[in-house]
């Protein structure tokens, strides 16, 4: 009772409104400033859309957008191909390795990207020797960067189904291990796979450390370079990236919500199985 009284009191409501207003100002002003800054005429009045047109007209910016999108695609595919079968396999056949795999996947949180860049030059000398000096080789480093986040989504999805029972059922009906992984387990953890993919795309589109220190022209790196000569265009591109990332992550919350609804529906049957 007293809780409701405090929550509803006028003083609390005022504090709450003022605080929310302050937060809104702090977070919205820089975003609105970006919109304003990228559309105003330098040294004059009125509006211009030139910085926004540069996003598709400037050849360097345009090619960097293509590079970043390709990197996002390649990283997502390689990450899923490498991680998903491994994590399913660990649950099914080598549970003893689960601690090791978890430790390795979460290690990039403790070893910052900057540290990996400092130590990776020898590895990248070999990579560019074998595959050429393409910015797309950044994929290999990016897979490591997205690993902790991808691991968490996949781990949560795998935890919400009974992998072993599913696999035993499929095996007893004559399925091979490939069928078990691709056709039985994978469809059941699909929401986890999509959310891992979304996070990977978002992270790759924003990554700066590797690209700038290894000198590969990805979108964030080119935005940074342009900032020295053409700040309005850089600001427009930054805002565009932020909006794109927001759309991706909002899409992700919808995927996540479907996932939760399904797992709630699954719960009784899961209880019956175990």
């Amino acid at each position: 009772m007293r809780a409701d009284a405090t929550r509803g009191s006028i003083a609390w409501r005022v504090v709450r409104a003022v605080a929310l207003l302050a937060f809104a100002v702090f977070f919205l002003v820089p975003l609105l400033s970006m919109a304003d800054f990228s559309t105003r005429v330098v040294g004059g009045t009125g509006r211009t859309a030139q910085p926004w047109e540069n996003l598709v007209q400037d050849p360097m910016l345009r090619s960097s957008i293509v590079t970043s999108l390709l990197l996002a695609l390649l990283t997502t595919v390689l990450m899923l191909v490498l991680l998903t079968p491994t994590m399913i396999w660990v649950r099914l056949r080598v549970p003893a390795a689960s601690r090791l795999v978890e430790f390795l996947c979460l290690l990039p949180l403790t070893v910052p990207p900057l540290v990996i860049v400092v130590g990776i030059s020898n590895v990248y000398a070999w990579v560019s020797y074998l595959l050429g000096n393409s910015p797309l080789t950044l994929t290999f480093a990016y897979v490591v960067l997205v690993l902790p986040y991808a691991y968490r989504s996949l781990d949560a999805a795998l935890g919400s189904i009974n992998v072993v029972t599913l696999a035993e059922a499929a095996r007893s009906l004559g399925a091979g291990w490939t069928t078990v992984i691709v056709r039985v387990v994978l469809p059941n953890i699909w929401p986890g796979v999509t959310s891992a993919a979304f996070v990977a795309v978002a992270l790759v589109l924003g990554e700066y450390t590797f690209a700038s220190l290894l000198n590969f022209e990805t979108l964030p790196y080119v935005i940074g370079l342009l900032g020295k000569s053409d700040a309005p265009t850089s600001t427009a591109a930054s805002l565009a990236v932020l909006v794109l990332a927001s759309l991706l992550l909002v899409a992700l919350t919808f995927v996540g919500r479907d996932n939760r609804r399904e797992s709630r529906r699954d719960k009784p049957s899961r209880g019956a199985l175990t």
Binding site: A97, V101, P112, V118, I120, L249
Partner: protein, 283 residues
């Protein structure tokens, strides 16, 4: 035979393990070994270089930046998370704050630097508006591009990160606990100091440590914002990697990176320990 069949499933992990060996463990080991290598084999000159005045001052700046942005982020973020959690989970407000926090927390980096240059830079929108309407100069001598500016800018992604990290802990606080406390005659103050406070404290401290590590390791925003000097460790690493200033000490970047591993490693270990304590009741 028995041993072979027991080890056979481990072969399925080989691609994953080899990949991480090449792209994660080899770079990390290179850094650690390189930190203790001079021109001719083993040497501690790079490590002793860390304790010279410039390097120590840079480390101090980094610690100040990380601690202050972590504390600001943790306190304000926890407060915002509390404002969020008192609304129903399906409310538009709560969904918006969570989604926006997700974007801002992960999307520091490049856009953030330009957001603040566009706002508070020399010809920034807010700077010009205040200059023309009130004659107020908030640009000053360019504080935005120094340590104080970094603290402000880092708060912009630390607060949302705190919301994301701390929200699950706040959601784990059951209304029944409060009802039980109130039934036993506890006041609001007693409930917060005796029940909710002690329960949330490990989660709060853990989240603060995570924020600290996050700020300490952040690179992109600072790299774009600070173009003169190298006030913090990540920027000193950039200088050691790219410029000629510290020539003759090629392995100094390794030593600085090693210092970073040590600081972040210690903090993340404490974080894991605190997280384990939180997860005991947070289910």
């Amino acid at each position: 035979m028995a041993r072979v069949s027991r080890l056979a499933p481990w072969a399925g992990l080989l691609p994953f393990l080899v990949y991480l060996l090449v792209f994660l463990l080899v770079p990390t080991v290179t850094v650690v070994v390189g930190a203790f290598q001079g021109g001719h084999g083993f040497s501690t000159e790079n490590i002793t270089g860390l304790f010279e005045a410039t390097a120590l001052h840079t480390l101090w700046n980094s610690l100040v930046l990380s601690v202050s942005s972590a504390v600001v982020g943790a306190v304000l973020g926890a407060f915002l998370a509390y404002l969020v959690v008192t609304r129903p989970p399906t409310s538009l407000f709560r969904r918006t704050v969570t989604a926006v926090s997700g974007v801002l927390a992960q999307f520091g980096g490049v856009p953030l630097a330009f957001a603040f240059i566009a706002t508070l830079g020399f010809s920034g929108v807010l700077t010009e508006a205040l200059r023309s309407s009130f004659g107020l100069d908030i640009f000053g001598s360019g504080w935005l591009f120094g340590l104080r500016g970094l603290i402000l800018v880092y708060s912009y992604f630390q607060i949302p990160l705190m919301v994301i990290v701390f929200l699950p802990a706040l959601e784990g606080v059951r209304p029944q606990w409060r009802e039980a406390a109130v039934n036993l005659g506890a006041s609001t103050w007693q409930y917060w100091t005796r029940v909710a406070g002690p329960l949330l404290l490990p989660a709060f401290l853990g989240a603060t440590l995570l924020l600290f590590a996050n700020a300490f390791a952040a690179y992109a925003t600072a790299a774009l914002l600070v173009t003169q000097g190298n006030p913090i460790v990540p920027l000193l690493i950039r200088a050691a990697l790219t410029s000629e200033v510290v020539l003759g000490r090629q392995n100094f970047a390794f030593a600085l990176a090693f210092e970073m591993i040590v600081v972040v490693g210690v903090v993340m270990t404490l974080y894991t320990l605190l997280l384990r304590r939180t997860s005991r009741w947070l289910r």
